[in-house]
Amino acid sequence: MEILVEFLKTTGFASMTWGNAIMIAIGVAFIILAIRKDYEPLLLVPIGMGAIVGNIPVIPGMALSVYDKGSVLQYLYFGVSQGIYPPLIFLGIGAMTDFSTMLSNPKLILLGAAAQVGVFLTFLGALLLGFSEAQSGAIGIIGGADGPTAIFLAAKLAPELLGAIAIAAYSYMALVPVIQPPIMRLLTTREERLIRMKPPRQVSKREKMIFPVAAFLIATLIAPGAVVLLGMLFFGNLLKESMVTERLAVTARTAMIDIVTMLLGFTVGASTQASTFLQRESLLIFALGAASFAIATAGGVLFAKFLNLFLTDKINPLVGAAGVSAVPDSARVVQMVGQQEDPHNFLLMHAMAPNVAGVVGSAIAAGVLWAVLAR
């Protein structure tokens, strides 16, 4: 019966490649990592399942994958490929983020700027490795440690590398508790790690209301390329802080961000088809990504030590590591490393300031790179 033969040829077993099997194993590993270690589960589970789905070999004639015109997954992937999901996620993040600690200690914002050195050094590294300027910009932003920002810039500058950049960004964000502590310990003395910081002051409701509008104007008048990401981030924060739009803020930080997160994670995962993903470029991107996280962490820590040269109220330089963003995992890592030296030192609150500043900082860096590198 030729129908049977015809059909058997369409089964996954027939056209399965080693690449597909590897990617499926990676997908399963992501899910296990999320469940066992609780590393960024809201993204690793969707991405992992998406990678499994995207690597089931399908019949060439059928529109199934994110790359097939008219397929369901391509429609859902549209929000990734056009950079629509990242600003929506920023809207939700804005509606859940409390900028109080940053408002109460504005000098900590600079640590969030310093960590962006990882972005630009990685950009140079990518150029050296032979990537084009636009590709290098998109790769550099992995050092911003913000998944949505990385996806947004990759969609605009180097869509051909989007999958690898997104996976690298989220992988390292998940691995922040593994990557950061050795670097933090290497670059600080025990005395520095023991520094206790003054408790943050109380911030008024009025300051919190004015902040999103003012910060948006300052940042985007300087770097208009960040207008969409920061516009949504601070729009969400204004909804949260205005006190008259609470119901919108609630929806933005629950149903809205959840729906977008599921679709983004799943389709990004599904875009990692072995045939397009398992390339030499992807390996280079992963290597550069690891470097960029390390550099960003070092940048934040060292800049904190530099600031301490001028300050009387010393900053615990561990807090600088939170400037990479990867909210809130890197702030938790700061707390953890700090408590290993002194169990009564609570750095979490202080670390949240460079942490959220790092989100703004890498959105600005993305805006600059986009403005300079877009044709």
Partner: protein, 100 residues
Amino acid sequence: MFTLLQIDADTMIRGLSISIVGIAIVFVALILISLFIAALPRLLSLVAGIFPEAEHARTSYARPDDSDDSEDIAAAIGFVLHTEFQRQLIENQLIQGRGH
């Protein structure tokens, strides 16, 4: 392409320029935000009164102090039970909702 370190000097110079300008822009923007935040409390005392401070009726409801008498207990329990019934109702609907 992808032949390590064989790119021309022009590209690297341009790359370096972009990097330096880029990190400078990031610092300028965040320093300005930082300065603005630092100045904000003083600015606010100057222009006090443009934005409201905890004057909103909708958020300023008081926690009742006398929450200990039996009438309140009954009310509370009634509400709890009502909530529980609501929850069950929703769960039932979820089960039904399966039939999509």
